[in-house]
Point group: C2
Chain length 412, copies 2
């Protein structure tokens, strides 16, 4: 109810900025009796959100229910269909139905805005659709899930294992009881899908994202990566290539001294690259009542000021069909292998990489006491498909124990 609180307490400031008063007319929620920390008695109460969306006296519907379909979808469709603007914080809804809803909004000459759905309080949709409107964007990088970034930085800081830090995050309220949506990378991937569509003027393609979570990231790799000047981040990456758009959400290594590498705790960060501007970086709170309210109310003010532009910056009918280019962009990789400590082993590993056309930038055998030696390798830029070939070969060698660990190193 941060939105209601701002509208109630900052009405004068908001009216001065919006050029007219913003009046809250009616409210709907599942449970009328729940204490939301704001007095709602002055507003009409609608028992269903579709009734709210169809309420005669409203110009704009704010949807902060969540859920990729059901009541949220119905309410948003109803409002747009009746020529009411919509401001939503619902990334799941937009990731699934964004293209169709954008078209729907344009047909009815109303705005559909979703700033609060992506990177919380960071005005990144605005930066992309408006601030960067003169640029041809080429790459987007984002740390888009505060829970994952908290877990990874706390593992590094405290030396705790993934499961322990996750439990601590749950205790602190940074992670849900069922953490899958966050730690599996799905929440961040929904946001990435919206950023990609906005940046590259393509239809939303959530299904086109290769998603990998942080649940298999070990303290061992965080430590080794750190020693080599990297930090592991759950990174959303969208690349525009000649072959199409590559979208990935996966743990990656980034240089420790880069802005992304230095991002601690629950913050979010988005890096935009485009021509002619080069690189801009945006950082802020990715979640929380204040961040959401800030983004939702900013969208409302924009609309009150008369800014009605297509949801993704260009008419939905002109959004390109997504051409997936998974694996199209080469990158260096961090590899950690466990190999038998006997003569010739490293040569056989190097040979397997060489046969796949992959050259080695750095290789290091770390101290060990057991018969199996941990070997760290940083490759030069290569295609993931070639790397997978090499890794399969290495795994098949009788000198290798278990599956190698491989993380992309995202150049910055």
């Amino acid at each position: 109810m941060g939105v209601v609180h701002i509208l109630q307490t900052q009405s004068q400031m908001i009216a001065a900025r919006a050029g007219r008063p913003i009046q809250l007319v009616a409210v709907s929620a599942r449970d009328r009796g729940k204490d939301r920390g704001a007095d709602l008695s002055a507003y009409d109460w609608e028992d269903s959100t579709s009734m709210l969306a169809a309420h005669n006296d409203i110009d704009l519907l704010v949807e902060v229910m969540g859920g990729e379909g059901g009541a949220a979808l119905e309410a948003v469709e109803t409002a747009l269909g009746q020529g009411r603007h919509v401001v939503t914080a619902n990334k799941a809804l937009m990731a699934r139905h964004g293209t169709a809803l954008a078209r729907h909004a344009e047909q009815h000459h109303v705005a559909l805005r979703f700033e609060a759905g992506v990177a919380g309080g960071i005005p990144i949709v605005k930066a992309l659709t408006e601030g960067m409107a003169a640029n041809r964007m080429t790459r987007i990088l984002g740390v888009l899930n505060g829970t994952c970034n908290y877990i990874l930085t706390e593992m590094e800081r405290t030396g705790g294992a993934y499961a322990d830090i996750l439990a601590e995050a749950q205790r602190l309220g940074y992670a849900e009881a069922d953490p899958t949506f966050d730690v599996g990378g799905f929440d961040a991937a929904q946001k990435l899908a919206l950023l990609t569509a906005t940046a590259f003027s393509t239809q939303v393609d959530y299904g086109g994202i290769a998603v990998e979570g942080i649940d298999r990231v070990t303290l061992t790799d965080i430590r080794y990566a750190g020693e080599m000047g990297y930090r592991i981040k759950l990174l959303g990456i969208a690349h525009r290539t000649d072959a199409g758009v590559e979208q990935r959400m996966q743990p990656c290594l980034v240089p420790s001294d880069s802005a992304l590498g230095q991002l601690d705790s629950v913050s979010n960060m988005v890096v935009l690259e485009g021509d002619p501007i080069g690189r801009t970086v945006y950082q802020g709170p990715g979640a929380g009542a204040g961040a959401t309210a800030s983004a939702v109310v900013a969208d409302i003010i924009d609309i009150a000021r008369g800014l009605v532009i297509p949801a993704f910056g260009v008419p939905a009918s002109t959004l390109g069909k997504p051409v997936r280019a998974e694996g199209a962009v080469p990158a260096p990789y961090y590899l950690r292998l466990s190999v038998a400590d006997r003569p010739g082993t490293l040569a056989r590993v190097a040979d397997a990489l060489g046969r796949a056309g992959i050259s080695i930038d750095r290789m290091r055998q770390t101290q060990h006491v057991e018969a199996m030696a941990p070997v760290l390798i940083v490759t030069h830029a290569c295609l993931r498909s070639d790397l997978d070939t090499a890794l399969a070969d290495i795994e098949a060698l009788d000198v290798s124990a278990g599956a190698p660990v491989a993380y992309r190193i995202e150049p910055l």
Copy 2:
């Protein structure tokens, strides 16, 4: 001529985003014959900028001449007076005449935009007027001059003296032949004045900024600050206090592990703090043809889309009169003194601070070979006026050699 280049080469992309084609109609510049890397022969040529501003066929004037008055002022006033929108990259003009020009624009129901004038390609005016429109801003921090940030980071990196690094920056084209405007802090202060007005809805008050440049920053202090976990940055700070607004542009210490502390080379960075959002951070190229063109064309696209809002986010008539609160915000300070190496000296220094009500957080006497010992002190938060009292007392002690060095440590 980056603007012309984008409009010529990206006309389709821009039309899709703006919702209509942007047509370049006429041009004016001092020297018609000069090679600007773009073909201008298709456009009308006006011999004076006021004639350009009054050109019958234009909806919008782009002013990228520079200069706080003269032809630039005349052209902008003419265009606004004739009901034409204005996009300017001219921070000097806006710092001097911004409030009056904003009023002028509103009287004629046109937009006056100046994104390119502040922090180059970072869409920070948009972030403040629109993205943060739901927030009550409390503090702005900015590294707003790439030349100064380059010099300070290069001094630290190479161990070079200020004069040598400045000469190198001039050779590389990062600094002007007369560097005063940059290294004296005036360029950055003009930008800060515009950010302050935008953030706090006050009239532009460039004259209210206490400006101090980087020309007296020594490698010695950069090193000592580094050892204590800080870096020295030329920092623009605007604070909203109960007593009014404090604006300062001066070398400050910031934590080395903060986003501002980690900003290297010619980049710019702005940190915004407000309620309810908390802190957001924006980083990007502060200068260059690409950054300027990106910002100017984004402003043009906004206007083409129908976004006509007051220059500083609220009607110019409602901008508050600036109430200066210089020195109102306490902060810790870094002090470097040179004192006689004999018993009782440190006690007398500590006593002088104590009499002014200033308590010491950390004190360190560094290794030395001469009779005068360098002493480093970090104070707890205090008012600058109290510190100045103490420093005058210390300087008057017969144990002190020369004026103490004092830098504010900006809490982050």
